[in-house]
Amino acid sequence: MTALDLRVAQRPNSPMTTYRYDAYDAAFVRERVAEFREQVRRRLSGALTEEEFRPFRLMNGLYLQLHAYMLRVAIPYGTLTARQMRRLADIADKWDKGYGHFTTRQNLQYNWPKLVDTPDILEALADVEMHAIQTSGNCIRNVTADHFAGVAPDEIEDPRPTAEFLRQWSSLHPEFSFLPRKFKIAVTGAEHDRAAIMVHDIGLRIVSNAVGAIGYQVVVGGGLGRSPFIGKVVGEFVPRADLLAFLEAIMRVYNRFGRRDNKYKARIKILVHETGIDEIRAAVEAEFASMDRSIFCHDPEEFERIAGFFAPPPYESLARDSQMLHAAKLETPAFANFVDVNVSAHKTPGYAIVTVSLKPIGGVPGDATSDQMRVLADASERFGFGELRVSHEQNIILPHVKQDDLFALWRMLDAAGLATANAGLVSDIIACPGMDYCSLATARSIPIAQAISKRFSDMSRQRRIGKLGIKISGCINACGHHHVGAIGILGLEKKGQESYQITLGGDPTFSASIGEILGPGVTVEQAPDVIEHLVDFYLAEREEGEAFIDTWRRLGHARFKDVLRREGEDGADI
């Protein structure tokens, strides 16, 4: 992975805009597949007990869930090629049940693989430069990034080269393969945080200093789960040359002082918030000062080599605004709505970023059939240089679409059930698999998402409401990011029944905040009513241009609690 061989053959369907394996990468992944094949063989023969085998399968992304095994495939910083997306579809058909679930960590999960088939699946992934390594276990997990990386107008620098740099640094890093707990890193290079860096173990924000040099604001100790925390700034400006050494120092402090006696207190967020950021910063700086930094010495050539993989595709020179797009919007209102909601500004004139919602009304958030995956692959090749992204909001992004092509793309997506114009709206709900699949869950989350989505099925009403993030988790582990939902919903068990705790005021961006509990839990049947009352109150009270979170912050939590109390008194049984 650190090989400097630039002579990498261009492969079919592989755009120049994504990282490509070199010989070292390819050999490494193949070796891991062969190793796991042998481990599976030994497990099935009885040579390995489940206790012995479990760490091996987890290191390769294989879980045992409620109904079957589950394989979590890594999608580094959410970037996929068309060829890779097609392979994901083929695997879904051949070894699973014809669909996949895109997750809040920009990965993909198969819900029904057989243990005996897993080595073949990993082999098929390796064919297209993919794997499932470090998607589980107490290691540094898949590094995530802004899904608009490289194309967002508000970007200082594309975060993907940094994310890839960190992926290579952290892959099988011997010091960090047995951390106290799992460890998640997110990177953004933009003025608006689309990667939720404030709620990661380490969040990196690419910044430039007074003289225009690029560096990183380093945030540490954020996280959701049982004990949610907003991260603290541990390094205000870490020069690029020092990044790896600085992160190494953080990891060493965590490895040394992080608790291993209690898994619920083992994440770095607990260490940071119990110790205090000043003391942690001092420990990191002391480690940084005393360590042998030569082995982490920044290699500008290597960074530039990696950055070269993420070069912009060969855009055409176009006018800023497309007349074709303008005309098509006038002719086709449904298309106009799609453009207004799901299409974002691109930094290159004449191009656009398209969010393909995986949240059809009443659908399962994040699920895509194999046929839909193929349509997305085809669409990316036909309209977007063969590149796709997975967002942590569980949608698919086509990052390089000509405005002139948007209408044709929309028709193609619409025919495949992929043109729901709800990106960022009330029905664009993040939801973990919950108890419909997950063995850790305490309640279902998908049916709640479906019920709310159906309640707000009127798309014009959704557009009137505007941007509103609802996030649902089926247990306290918070894979559905409920703590940072403007409206968060947490599924729990109460006296043998599913019960849903609602929080308000969460925010996953630079202005991050953890939601506050609204009141007693509600039933699955009550949840849509409660959400609707809250939304109606917001609509009645909001001022010009206010999003839900803004109104909540202005009015205060108590006003929203009062709404439900009054509704309950009026007989709404909430």
Partner: protein, 107 residues
């Protein structure tokens, strides 16, 4: 030993394919209606002995006892919604899991 409040069945996951299985009269069954039901603590302990034996034999993993109620047809139904989910399949995909083959609905 914990108090015995409900009849119990032994649930596990099949090692090679991960499917949920239930200890029956003559081995592991894929339909919970064929599960052996323990009516007292001693019978439940006997089920667990079988379970531990088959963990050692690498047939099953994640073995545990689940409380059930016995219906009019004599078939056991899990008391807790988690296990009710396991005997059927995802409530949001009635075409998948055991319920798909049995043509039954979700809990």
């Amino acid at each position: 030993m914990a108090s015995f409040k409900h009849p119990q069945i032994l649930i596990a996951s099949n090692l090679s394919d991960g499917e949920v299985v239930f200890l029956g009269a003559s081995g592991w069954e894929r339909d919970h209606r064929r599960a052996r039901v323990a009516l007292n603590a001693e019978e439940a302990a006997a089920l667990e002995v079988f379970g531990k034996r088959d963990i050692s034999a690498n047939r099953v993993v994640d073995v545990y006892l689940a409380d059930v109620e016995i219906g009019g047809d004599g078939a056991p139904t899990p008391v807790h919604y988690r296990e009710r989910m396991r005997v059927k399949g995802p409530s949001v995909r009635l075409d998948l899991g055991k319920q798909a083959a049995a043509g039954r609905g979700a809990p």
